[in-house]
């Protein structure tokens, strides 16, 4: 967990650091303002009204926003954000990173592109510790063509679980959830060097365990 935030301003470049917590997500952030930067000494809030970029050296997560506010070691808020990480490339109107909890929450014109997967959703809750992204709906995918009430993404494997009233289309086939909703696993494979998804309605126990926190 973040225990202290040190700020070193060198020509506009700030590095947010947390000693002894290099393995935690969002624990070693480098902030590069795009313009001015102000620090409210009473609240500890740093504001980047012209936005900037934040880079987590440990997780490789890169954040670029039009406006950023953060409290060192506590949270980061961004507006008109593009985040690139293990989960893919995410764009959203608003972003909140709970540095202590290792969670990323995004909403508003939210899109994600990850390999062959491209989707939009109303809201994302990403557990950086478990590398599970929880998109809530309506969730719509353009590649592959699908929709669902909710989508869980294993950012580690790329496997997907569609939940609720889902639809999945490929070629002449269109799959629809049973009445009352269901679950559909989309498993990422490489076929002839190209990533493709396999679908299955019977969800393997391992995947259920992987998403147990979100499903319970």
């Amino acid at each position: 967990m973040l225990r202290a935030l040190s700020v070193l301003a060198v020509g506009g470049l700030a590095t947010i650091g947390l000693a002894g917590a290099a393995s935690a997500p969002f624990a070693a952030l480098t902030v590069t303002p795009a313009g001015s930067q102000s620090y409210d000494i009473s609240t500890g809030i740093t504001s980047l009204p012209q936005g900037g970029t934040i880079f987590d050296r440990d997780t490789g997560v890169s954040l670029e926003a039009k406006r950023i506010t953060y409290v060192d070691g506590s949270y980061i808020d961004g507006e008109t954000v593009t985040v690139t990480g293990a989960f893919g490339t995410l764009s959203a109107d608003k972003l909140h990173i709970d540095v202590r909890g290792g969670a990323l929450i995004a909403s508003g014109h939210l899109t994600l592109t990850r390999g062959v997967l491209s989707l939009s959703a109303a809201k994302l809750h990403y557990d950086a510790n478990r590398q599970v992204a929880d998109f809530t709906g309506p969730v719509r995918g353009s590649s592959p063509d699908f929709s669902a009430d909710r989508l869980l993404l294993d950012a580690d494997s790329g496997n997907v679980l569609l939940l609720g009233d889902y639809r999945f289309s490929e070629g002449p086939f269109t799959l629809r959830a049973p009445e009352g909703g269901g679950r559909l696993e989309l498993t990422l494979h490489q076929v002839d060097g190209a990533p493709v998804y396999d679908a299955a309605t019977q969800i393997p126990a391992a995947l259920l365990a992987r998403f147990a926190h979100e499903l319970n």
Binding site: R176, D198, T201
Partner: protein, 695 residues
């Protein structure tokens, strides 16, 4: 067979056709399971199932758990359905699949499908009371045509097999059809087959091409195209005929006695033989019959030995135009036969319908060289004749009936005899069928100079002035009661060689039947009055009262007849009769005995046996075989019949007195046993599930 009724076999076939057609409109759907997932496969179908798994590396989708695939007019149910191919070239496979289409439920050992057709293998079929199997079934999704390979269907009453069957639109075509009612192991006793059969559900008929009936290995050709409906079934006949033709004292024609004739022994397409023996009883000389018959196009021929002598008859007809036919005849009927004729003739006929007058008209011309040997001595020479006829009718009206007028005229020259015969004929008639009432009135007038040197069996005309009428009433006056009454009369103003002038027929009859507790009790009265009112020595005149009781095969009867003419006046019949069925192992025996007590009443003599007979009913898997004879007042009749539905109807042969039909296929469920009818044979094919050992 009641007019307008559809024979059960035809009804079953039509039900089959209707089910095929109706099914196309509303195929039974396999209901989606609760909680089922849905997969749309383009415009091809929609599948519901419990589980799905795709295999992208093999382009395959597995659906399993109560899989139901619904297309346009068809459904597929299976535990597992595999869909291969991720684009329009997909292919569906399933094992132990159940397909419903066009009223059928087809359980196939395996199924493959693509976007154009469904193909099923080893198919078990059920639907609308019909079960069966097909080696394969292909449903063309674009045309909706269903093709079945090697079909074998059976309902409660029949088997229908075929090399293939096709359903298209409202037509069902069966190639190589075979139809039988025999539910037997091994070859059926009889089978109706053909090159193809088309079941027209809309018109309620089956059109059979190059059809034939095979009975006990004997083929009976049915013609190039036979339309099987309530009427045309009457033209079918069993190949075996048992006949009893007694001598006719009135005409002097010699009888042939008891004969067994194989009437249609198929030799080649369009050619068959009629062979048999007559005079099998002691009263007539033993004689053989061997006739070769054939038909091809518009030509038919008969050649061979008939009981009367050698016979060769050839007739050729060709339609030269839609309104003109022409052809030639050759007839050689050797002495011993009643006709005793040798003749070659060219003939032509122009004909046209006259729709405005609900009639038709025709003009005939004949040029013949004829030789005849009547009792008066041989006569031979040319005949050149022309004749015309026309029929006009009023509109048929249920209230006012229909009036008809038939007119005709003929002129024939006999150059060798320097003779001319002319004739003019008119016959107005009136027909009315209104509910239980049926009325027919007619008057025949013919003027002629009777100038032909030949006999009436060839072309000699005789004058006639004949009034005739028939009035009948039938109906049910009350529940459980049936009544009928009939009056018929004929009066000839002039006599000729066949009838005397005067009242030649005045018959009044009536009956009243009460159905009660499984019994039909009938009281009847028959009055033959011509011999009473206008006795001339030959005319019958009597009053007969009858009482009959029937319960199934049990028949009891009593009959009393008081005769006025011809012969001495008095009670000449006081008969009681009984036919009692006796169930024995594997056979039902029904002896018949009639005893006449009139000699006892009139003169104290012993009662006389006036009738006796015996029927044997042998159950089989096709129905019951019925063999029997009856001698009633010296008139012998024998019968051989196949009752396809026990207690219902029969396919068989019955021997009738001379001048009436001798062979029948009878099939009406409500029909009485085969009956003799002048000028034709009532016939049909009956279906019915029969039990019993195979033949």
């Amino acid at each position: 067979m009641a007019a307008g009724r559809i024979p059960p076999l035809l009804r079953a076939l039509l039900a089959l056709a209707l089910s095929l057609l109706a099914g196309g409109m509303a195929a039974a759907q396999c209901a989606p399971a609760k909680g089922a997932t849905e997969l749309s496969i383009g415009n091809f179908a929609t599948a519901t199932f419990l589980e799905l798994k795709t295999d992208a590396s093999h382009d395959q989708v597995d659906l399993y758990g109560k899989v139901c695939v619904s297309g346009r007019g068809w459904t597929l149910a299976a535990d597992v359905v595999k869909v291969a191919g991720a684009n329009a070239d997909f292919r569906i496979t399933a094992q132990r699949a159940t397909v419903t289409v066009r009223g059928w439920t087809a359980r196939a050992a395996s199924l493959t499908a693509d976007s154009s057709q469904l193909t099923l293998q080893q198919v078990m079929l059920t639907g609308h009371g019909v079960d069966g199997r097909a080696a394969s079934a292909v449903l063309d999704l674009s045309s909706g045509e269903l093709r079945l390979g090697a079909i074998d269907l059976h309902g409660a009453a029949f088997y229908l097999s075929g090399d293939s069957a096709t359903l298209a639109g409202d037509q069902v075509t069966v190639a190589g059809p075979g139809i039988t009612t025999c539910h037997c192991a091994g070859p059926p006793l009889y089978r109706v087959s053909g090159a193809s059969a088309r079941l027209d559900a809309r018109a309620e008929k089956v059109v059979l091409s190059d059809g034939q009936v095979t009975v006990m290995g004997v083929h009976v050709p049915l013609g190039t195209t036979v339309t099987i409906d309530a009427q045309t079934l009457k033209s079918l006949a069993l190949p075996l005929s048992i006949e009893y033709l007694p001598s006719d004292a009135a005409s002097g024609e010699a009888g042939t006695g008891l004969g067994v004739i194989l009437t249609h022994l198929g030799l080649a397409p369009g050619v068959y033989a009629r062979v048999g023996a007559t005079g099998l009883d002691a009263d007539y000389p033993l004689a053989s019959e061997a006739l070769l018959k054939g038909q091809a196009g518009g030509t038919s021929f008969t050649f061979g030995k008939a009981p009367g002598g050698m016979r060769f008859v050839e007739r050729s007809d060709q339609a030269l135009t839609p309104w003109l036919d022409a052809g030639f005849d050759t007839r050689v009927l050797e002495p011993g036969n009643r006709d005793r004729l040798r003749e070659g003739a060219l003939h032509a006929r122009a004909h046209t319908a006259v729709p405005a007058l609900r009639g038709n008209a025709s003009l005939d011309a004949v040029a013949a060289a004829s030789a005849q040997s009547p009792g008066s001595g041989p006569v031979a020479g040319a005949r050149l004749g022309i004749s015309g006829s026309a029929l006009v009718a009023s509109a048929a009206d249920a209230t006012w009936g229909q009036a008809q007028l038939r007119v005709g005229a003929s002129l024939t020259g006999y150059p060798d005899q320097r003779a001319v015969q002319w004739g003019v004929r008119a016959e107005p008639s009136y027909l009315l069928d209104a509910g239980p009432l049926s009325l027919r009135l007619a008057y025949l007038t013919r003027f002629t100079n009777s100038g032909s040197p030949f006999t009436t069996s060839l072309d000699r005309l005789e004058p006639a002035q004949r009034a005739s009428g028939r009035l009948s009433l039938s109906g049910a006056p009350a529940p459980g009661w049936r009544a009928s009454a009939k009056v018929s009369a004929q009066y000839d103003l002039v006599g000729n060689s066949t009838v005397a002038a005067g009242l030649n027929r005045l018959n009044v009859s009536g009956s009243l039947t009460r159905s009660l507790r499984g019994w039909d009790l009938t009281g009847s009265v028959d009055a033959v009055l011509a011999g009473v009112l206008a006795p001339n020595g030959d005319r019958d005149g009597y009053l007969q009262l009858g009482l009959d009781a029937h319960s199934g095969e049990l028949a009891l009867g009593a009959r009393a007849r008081y005769r006025v003419a011809p012969g001495p006046q008095g009670l000449d019949l006081l008969q009681v009769s009984a036919a009692v069925p006796l169930q024995l192992p594997g056979v039902v025996v029904r002896p018949y005995l009639a005893v006449d007590f009139a000699p006892t009443v009139a003169g104290g003599a012993l009662p006389a046996i006036s009738g006796h007979g015996l029927d044997l009913t042998i159950p089989s898997c096709c129905g019951a075989i019925k063999i029997g004879y009856r001698d009633q007042d010296g008139t012998i009749s024998v019968s051989l019949a196949l009752d396809l539905k026990t207690g219902a109807s029969s396919v068989g042969a019955v021997s009738c007195p001379s001048g009436t039909a001798a062979t029948t296929i009878v099939a009406d469920a409500a029909a009485t046993p085969p009956v003799c009818a002048a000028g034709g044979a009532g016939a049909g094919i009956m279906t019915g599930a029969a039990t019993g050992p195979p033949l």
